[in-house]
């Protein structure tokens, strides 16, 4: 009898899983269905470049159905309820889909509604996010009209999707303002709930001066309680005010509302999973891949990619009650744009912090870790092509899923 694999969410992780599993699982044995609310797949790393008009909107959008292989059923509908006990999913239009195995890839979303004052009159007028397509485009218009003042880049709370993006934004804003001769009349402030802009010891030691060199003020341990709309200021729980003319905020990130509604999530709506197999801790036939899981690693596309590699190896075995052959290590790597055509690259996992070295080839590179180079910037730009043409279709990319210590400077670990 045919078994049913249901994937909720056709973003980075969901699209990759559906495409990869369609090749791995025999079509006579397995039906694969993927559900998403609309037919627009967004290249989220590109949102960083939209405010500065470096990318055009058409470069970050594709139709979801063109990205899915034949033999995958795409259902366009919202998800109302997951009944993991019964093995069914109820859609917004009332349809009920039954599954044998469920993969949740519903990601994480910015929730400006969770901070008092954020979604008020100032929203998209003086307060912007850039983690949504509409937000990034609205910010582009605001930057075009900027004449100076205080620009505050702010993170509400961790974890957030792509944790390096706020730093990248502030670096790019600095370079953008300088190129327009506006930097001297624009004060830049970076407010973070963490104890520093860089918190991992080796990265902090290597990169600590990047913000100071650019005359960017850093406000640390800053946990916003509310936005004072009349006064145009952030107000923290310990009563620190940061006035702004333009606020670029990263709102609180939460998992999909259906996760909470269905009783599957933690306090932020992320699903607790085994960190090595990505299997739900509550239900044997439920897996969670990408940002929707409560994994202690970055919420980023690279993590979803590496996690999918592990998942694809393990899934056929786990559903037969056999032992997994692979264990996800929390591997992440992220390009960090630093402005003026340069970038950094970081590579790390659950246990090992970002270290200097080379990537992907030990001692060869061509990317350099924790070092600003032009090659890293070009790598980031080239990744968009790889994303659409290789990563999502599930074609092999010569990047190892597991983190390697080869080519990394481990001597700094002892010093840190």
């Amino acid at each position: 009898m045919t078994r049913r694999l249901l994937v909720l969410g056709a973003g980075t992780a969901g699209t990759m899983i559906a495409n990869r599993m369609r090749r791995v699982l025999d079509a006579r044995d397995w039906e694969i269905t993927i559900v998403d609310k609309d037919d627009v797949h967004l290249y989220q790393p590109g949102f960083l470049f939209l405010p500065f008009a470096t990318y055009r909107p058409d470069q970050v959008r594709r139709s979801r159905h063109t990205l899915l292989a034949d033999g995958i059923d795409l259902v366009l509908a919202g998800v109302e309820q997951i009944d993991a006990g019964a093995g069914t999913v109820t859609l917004g239009d009332g349809r009920v889909l039954a599954y044998d195995q469920l993969v949740i890839t519903t990601g994480t979303s910015p929730r400006p509604d969770q901070t008092p004052g954020m979604l008020g009159d100032l929203w998209r007028r003086d307060v912007f996010d850039f983690y949504t397509f509409d937000g990034a485009m609205a910010l582009q218009r605001a930057l075009q009209q900027l004449t100076g003042g205080r620009l505050v880049v702010h993170v509400t709370d961790m974890p957030i999707k792509c944790p390096v993006a706020p730093l990248e934004f502030v670096f790019l804003a600095d370079a953008w303002l300088r190129a327009r001769g506006m930097r001297e009349r624009t004060e830049l402030v970076f407010a973070t709930p963490l104890s520093g802009a860089f918190t991992q010891p080796v990265a902090a030691e290597r990169l600590g001066s990047l913000l100071a060199d650019r005359d960017i003020r850093v406000e640390t341990d800053y946990l916003v309680e509310r936005i004072d709309e009349q006064g145009k200021a952030l107000v923290s729980y310990d009563e620190r005010r940061i006035d702004f003319d333009l606020l670029v905020t990263v709102p609180l990130n939460m998992g999909a509302e259906v996760i909470t509604r269905s009783g599957l999530g933690d306090e932020l709506g992320y699903v607790p999973v085994d960190r090595h197999t990505l299997r739900s801790r509550a239900y044997e036939n439920v897996f969670v891949v990408g940002d929707a899981a409560d994994l202690p690693t970055s919420k980023a596309g690279s993590v979803a990619h590496f996690a999918v590699e592990t998942f694809v190896h393990n899934f056929p075995l786990l559903v037969e009650g056999r032992e997994p052959v692979d264990a996800f290590d929390g591997h992440a790597n992220c390009f960090v744009e630093t402005g003026n055509g340069k970038g950094l690259l970081i590579d790390f996992d659950y246990d090992t912090q970002p270290l200097p070295g080379t990537y992907p080839l030990p001692w060869v590179g061509p990317m350099r870790l924790l070092t600003e180079t032009r090659a890293n910037h070009l790598g980031k730009l080239a990744f968009r092509w790889l994303y659409w043409n290789a990563l999502l279709p599930g074609r092999p990319i010569p990047l190892p899923a597991h983190m390697s210590m080869r080519g990394k400077d481990t001597s700094l670990l002892a010093a840190a």
Partner: protein, 104 residues
């Protein structure tokens, strides 16, 4: 990781003084650690610390302020009053747990 003696307790700590082995912690040590950062522990502090220890034992990572507030039922505002300035960091330090950290 450096080994150090603190008021008769032999402990392993990282460069910032956070315990690297949560098993080396006990409540007596918590009082000593708290004194190091100018705190005298009250019942309200202990409620947060006990939540943090129990949650770490289950989750394997240090709870965020939001988690302490949501699941431990202590408002964030109160955590700032109990552990002024840097509550997440100070709570983890006194509870003998790893510092909450970012990815870079």
């Amino acid at each position: 990781m450096p080994e150090t003696m603190l008021d008769g307790h032999r402990i392993h700590v990282d460069a910032e003084g956070f315990l690297t082995d949560p098993a080396e912690w006990d409540e007596e040590l918590a009082d000593v650690l708290a004194a190091q950062i100018g705190l005298t522990l009250t019942d309200a502090h202990w409620k947060a610390l006990h939540f943090l220890r129990a949650d770490f034992a289950q989750q394997g990572e240090t709870a965020t302020l939001r988690r302490v507030s949501t699941l431990g039922a202590i408002p964030v505002k109160e955590l700032f009053a109990l552990f002024p300035g840097k509550p997440a960091k100070k709570m983890a330090y006194v509870a003998g747990l790893p510092k909450p950290h970012g990815c870079v």
